[in-house]
């Protein structure tokens, strides 16, 4: 199978959907003439023209609102945020509007829109450019939330998101746009709301998503060296949460560790922990544990960045703790 980068997988998803559905357009800062701040939309202006690949001024609130209004009126906008940090300026449109159009109108109007862009930390970018917001949006009825960096999953899920009749928050990662993965030439979809078991195992379940999946997978490789066979689950979709896949895994492994870039308070791991203790209480042989980002703001200095983020050694250590192993 051919191997392509995440940014190309995302681009192909948009291009394929735009070729079959003329109501789909892409709008955002630098998406057209600049070819995308992270080159996700490279070349799309040439194929689709300025009517469908729309550069905007730096007005996140304004162009998010124009997207929501357009989605209410028979078009399917893809709104790119240069990062989800900047989408904070537009959160009123996502939470107070996109998520509520169906409800407030008694089901008369829908809002088929995709808000997408990179989420989470990306090097030494300090406090305002390093935040992971999955749990903010996952808390909101009316929204669906996807967060993935696997090129195969990202392409199939973005295509599903564009086709979806409801508003979808789609989170990528700046540091992963160049990551390579196997993606078939032929077209395919991946359903929203289904987790993926990336490595089967028997001893412990590690759940993660987005770029923390790299930490989870690398930790599993390290653990294998010590004969610990971890099962690794990539959530891919955050809302709705595929808790059944997690619970089935825990029933087999009896142990659960969650690795995520969220801050700890009210995070995705909090929700998973609640659900797992409720559905699989008798199967647990150890407390559910998690590694989140530090309950602090991201600082600039490299050692403080390292201290802030989950990593492989921390994950390996925690897995050993839930397995009651010394060291």
């Amino acid at each position: 199978m051919r191997t392509i980068a995440l940014r190309q997988a995302l681009r192909e998803a948009m291009e394929e959907e735009m070729r079959i559905d003329s109501s789909v357009f892409l709008m955002g800062e630098e998406v057209a003439q600049y070819n995308g701040a992270y080159k996700v939309s490279q070349g799309m202006l040439t194929e689709f023209g300025p009517k469908r690949i729309v550069d905007t001024p730096i007005s996140e609130l304004g162009f998010a609102a124009i997207g929501v209004g357009a989605a209410m009126n028979n078009t399917k906008p893809i709104i790119e945020f240069m990062t989800w940090n900047f989408a904070e300026l537009a959160i009123d449109q996502i939470v107070n509007h996109a998520a509520k159009i169906v409800s407030m109108s008694g089901g008369q109007f829908s809002c088929p829109i995709v808000f997408r862009g990179p989420n989470g930390s990306a090097g030494q970018l300090a406090a305002q450019h390093s935040q992971a917001f999955e749990n903010w949006y996952a808390n909101v009825p009316g929204l669906k939330v996807i967060s993935t960096i696997n090129p195969y999953d990202a392409k199939g899920l973005l295509k599903s998101a564009i086709r979806d009749a409801d508003p979808v928050v789609f989170m990528e990662s700046e540091t992963a746009y160049g990551d390579l993965g196997e993606v078939p030439e032929e077209t395919y979809l991946i359903p929203i709301g289904k987790a993926s078991i990336k490595k089967e195992g028997t001893d412990v379940t590690i759940v993660s998503y987005n770029k923390m999946m790299k930490v989870a997978m690398d930790a599993a490789t390290e653990l294998a060296k010590e004969n610990i066979n971890a099962e690794v689950i990539d959530l891919r979709t955050i809302r709705p949460l595929d808790w059944q896949t997690i619970v089935e895994s825990v029933k087999k492994t009896n142990r659960l560790v969650i690795v995520e870039e969220q801050w700890p308070f009210g995070s995705i791991s909090s929700e998973i922990t609640y659900r797992t203790q409720k559905e699989a209480f008798d199967f647990l042989d150890a407390p559910i544990r998690r590694i989140c980002s530090a309950d602090a703001n991201m600082h600039y200095a490299h050692n403080l960045v390292a201290g802030y983020l989950p990593d492989v050694p921390k994950t390996v250590k925690l897995v050993k703790e839930v397995m009651y192993m010394k060291k």
Binding site: G67, A70, A71, M72, S103, S105, G106, G107, D166
Partner: protein
């Protein structure tokens, strides 16, 4: 009392304004009786803005507004009884008892709501217009907001893009002089709000909102510009609400004299005077209209009273278009 407008339009203005007025008076009464709950913002005094706009529009043009939406929704064609049922929270309401006073919608009548976050609908209106332009139609979108919303950042971001992209939208600032309890003079040094459009190279105009004729003319010019590809217009329509901001507001921040001054210009009275002066209706015919309106409002209340509340299982409906969404229920 000569007018460029004829008998038919005056009679339309009179009857519709009377319906909007009587509907709102009844809604206020029913709110006092606790038949209607939640927030409730009445349109009384501003009726000329609604009817003067509608008479200048095509039926298939789009409309969006804020939470003071009852009258605009009825004027756009949502039956009064569906609006009253909505205020009652009944399943037969225009949004099935899910939106209430602030969120009237009708896809059929191209009424895009009823929105509760001050100024946020300015961007939605531009987006609705963007979609029309994208789809190559000649529909125009009328986007209402108040003088309070004119101080939101949204207005500035969206005016800029609307001009940049020449969107077929008319921004109508219904300046009723008070953002809730704060007089417009206490919110900015720019008191001619339409002049904000100058900053974005958008045509702007000030319109007397107590006059159906002036509203119609102003909106007609703006709509023609938009329909012919000339882009957006900013209309500041100066009007006045005779009641408080909402039902809980006794409006003590303004003088009786100021209120009386505007009541002198009550558009229902002036429109009726013009009709009578031109012998476009007899006293008897006017009585018939009044009776028709009285009956329509009465029937709307009867309809609302007799309608059922939504089924309990509606709680998880209309959250997603996706009928199989797995909600967390425990």
């Amino acid at each position: 009392m000569h007018s460029q407008f004829g008998k038919e339009i005056y009679l339309y203005w009179y009857e519709t304004m009377l319906l909007l007025r009587k509907f709102e008076e009844k809604a206020g009464q029913l709110y006092g009786m606790q038949k209607i709950r939640g927030f409730c913002h009445l349109y009384i005094g501003q009726e000329a803005v609604a009817v003067g706009t509608i008479s200048a529009l095509r039926d298939d043009d789009n409309m969006i507004t804020a939470y003071r939406d009852h009258a605009l929704a009825i004027a756009k064609g949502i039956p009064a009884k569906e609006c009253m049922a909505e205020l009652y929270g009944k399943a037969t309401g225009c949004t099935k008892g899910k939106g209430g006073s602030m969120h009237f919608f009708s896809k059929e009548k191209r009424f895009f709501g009823g929105h509760g976050i001050v100024g946020a609908q300015i961007g939605l209106g531009a987006g609705i217009a963007f979609a029309e332009q994208y789809q190559g139609t000649d529909r125009v979108t009328i986007c209402y907001f108040g003088d309070g919303a004119a101080r939101q950042g949204m207005l500035h971001e969206v005016m800029n893009m609307a001009v940049l992209w020449q969107l077929p939208v008319v921004f109508v600032c219904e300046n009723n002089h008070y953002a809730m309890g704060t007089s417009v003079v206490r919110t900015s040094k720019v008191l001619d709000i339409y002049r904000l459009a100058d900053a974005y190279d958008m045509p702007g105009d000030s319109v007397d909102g107590m006059s159906c004729e002036e509203v119609h003319k102003g909106v007609e010019r703006a709509v023609r510009r938009a329909r012919e590809g000339g882009g957006p217009t900013f209309l500041e329509i100066k009007t006045y609400r005779f009641r408080g901001h909402s039902m809980s507001d006794p409006a003590k921040y303004r003088t009786k004299e100021e209120l009386e001054e505007y009541k002198e210009k009550d558009p229902i009275n002036t429109t009726l005077s013009t009709i009578m002066a031109n012998n476009w209706a007899t006293q008897e015919e006017i009585e018939q209209i009044n009776e028709k309106v009285r009956l329509e409002v009465e029937e709307s209340v009867k309809f609302a009273e007799e309608s059922p509340f939504p089924d309990d299982d509606e709680l998880y409906k209309d959250i997603y278009m996706d009928a199989n969404y797995p909600f967390i229920t425990d």
